[in-house]
């Protein structure tokens, strides 16, 4: 029997394994019929202790397109967590009902706790402001398909870099590739946490800070926008003051490279004007689509299905 694998942090996967997942996702896109029955009689449990649209739906669509079934809940109030059941107990129980579990939890480290008890693979679908590795896989798949490579890129990260878990995970993944340069674009209050800065420095990665989006745009290959999230603030006043700090408008793209791509983990509020949607450089809805394919590849990988 092969070793039980989980995906809690993006670093649980080697660069070679990520490359493999991207390759499989590409093959799924090219040959969807070859995969449509491959998970027949397999069940995915989606345990979402906090609301999600894209992540939960993309996991559901991924398993359905692989011919498998899906069960689960989409908010803590409809689970026994509302009665005070621990994550460990919930996972022990669900391990008996499903072949693989995708979970989202508002508390950081909950999937790690789950993985200690689970007898089936656990996929972290986001734990508070901590990790969101399948979003990172989605981002890598998108960058790879749009740019044809994952090395030698200047990546601008804009918006909430303090609480934005997608940004932290993306940095952690990209520093393992050669020739990556980051431009951090955020208000001072939403700067990267110190541990991420330390990680960048320890990896010897070049990174700079800019306070105006316009100043950064011309040099970027990838512009990764993020939402300033209300739920990450304890103080409503701070949220209102900072939420409109960095908005991308169509006119600003005039200064961008022709082949730059604009990414966003979605949902957006107003940080990307809708007039950007029609620009060929807008890649965020394509990115959401890639999320389904890379999750299909991940499910196959963790289930050990070739």
């Amino acid at each position: 029997m092969s070793e039980l694998r989980h995906l809690i942090s993006i670093t649980d996967l080697s660069v070679e394994e990520i490359d493999h997942l991207i390759e499989v996702a590409d093959d799924i896109i090219a040959n969807p019929e070859a995969y449509q029955e491959i998970c027949r009689h397999k069940k995915l449990a989606t345990l979402f202790f906090e609301p999600s649209t894209r992540t939960r739906l993309s996991f559901t669509a991924a398993m359905m397109e692989l011919g498998g079934n899906v069960l689960g809940f989409d908010q803590a109030t409809s689970s026994s967590a509302a009665k005070g059941e621990s994550v460990s107990d919930t996972i022990t129980m669900v391990s008996g009902y499903a072949d693989i579990i995708a979970m989202r939890h508002p508390k950081e480290g909950a999937p790690f706790v789950a993985a200690r008890r689970a007898t089936v693979p656990i996929i972290n679908g986001g734990d508070g402001g901590h990790f969101h590795p399948t979003q990172t896989l989605t981002d890598l798949q998108t960058i790879h398909r749009k740019k044809g490579r994952l090395s030698g890129l200047t990546i601008g990260l804009c918006g909430d870099l303090k609480f934005g878990r997608t940004v932290h995970s993306l940095i952690e993944a990209m520093i393992r590739y050669d020739g990556i340069r980051f431009v951090m674009i955020s208000p001072e209050e939403l700067d990267l946490p110190s541990y991420v800065k330390e990680m960048l420095d320890a990896a010897g990665v070049e990174w700079t800070v800019m306070r105006r989006l316009e100043d950064a745009i011309p040099e970027l290959d990838v512009l990764y926008m993020t939402r300033v999230q209300r739920e990450r603030f304890f103080n409503e006043e701070d949220y209102i003051r900072l939420k409109d700090s960095f908005i991308l408008r169509r006119k600003m793209l005039d200064a961008a490279k022709e082949d730059m791509i604009v990414m966003h983990p979605l949902p957006r509020v107003n940080e990307i004007s809708v007039d950007v949607d029609d620009d060929p450089r807008a890649a965020y809805f394509y990115q959401a689509l890639m999320g389904k394919y890379i999750r299909m590849a991940l499910i196959l990988f963790l289930l050990g299905i070739k």
Partner: protein, 141 residues
Amino acid sequence: MNIDGVRTGIVLDHIQAGKGWEIYNLLGLDKVDCTVAIIQRVDSGKYGKKDIIKVDGDIDIDLDILGYFDTKITVNMIRDRQLVRKVHLKLPEKLTGVLECRNPRCITSVEQEIVHQFWLADPEKKKYRCVYCDAVYEEKK
């Protein structure tokens, strides 16, 4: 090092002067069923002044806790009035059930039965991170 009075047990030497009682409580020495002596503000060639704790009894002490507290402490193991082993402490790679994560977003903040665990992220800065949420442990000011 004077190990007088200890037949079989432990002598903790080079405790920072004035910290003897803290170590005594940290190791739960108030609960052991043997003789324990705290000697305070002894002259020390190395540190000027130091505290010493002598335990005359065959007990186990948690070297990880002690190492986290102060790596300068020397642990002398005594058997039949002879020094049989001298342990120089180092920062433990993992700390289990010693520190408590203070991140309100950490899973340990809501699930009380989870044992708090930290790993040594930076030995030079004595920085420990929670294994669950990666938050850095910060001492209470």
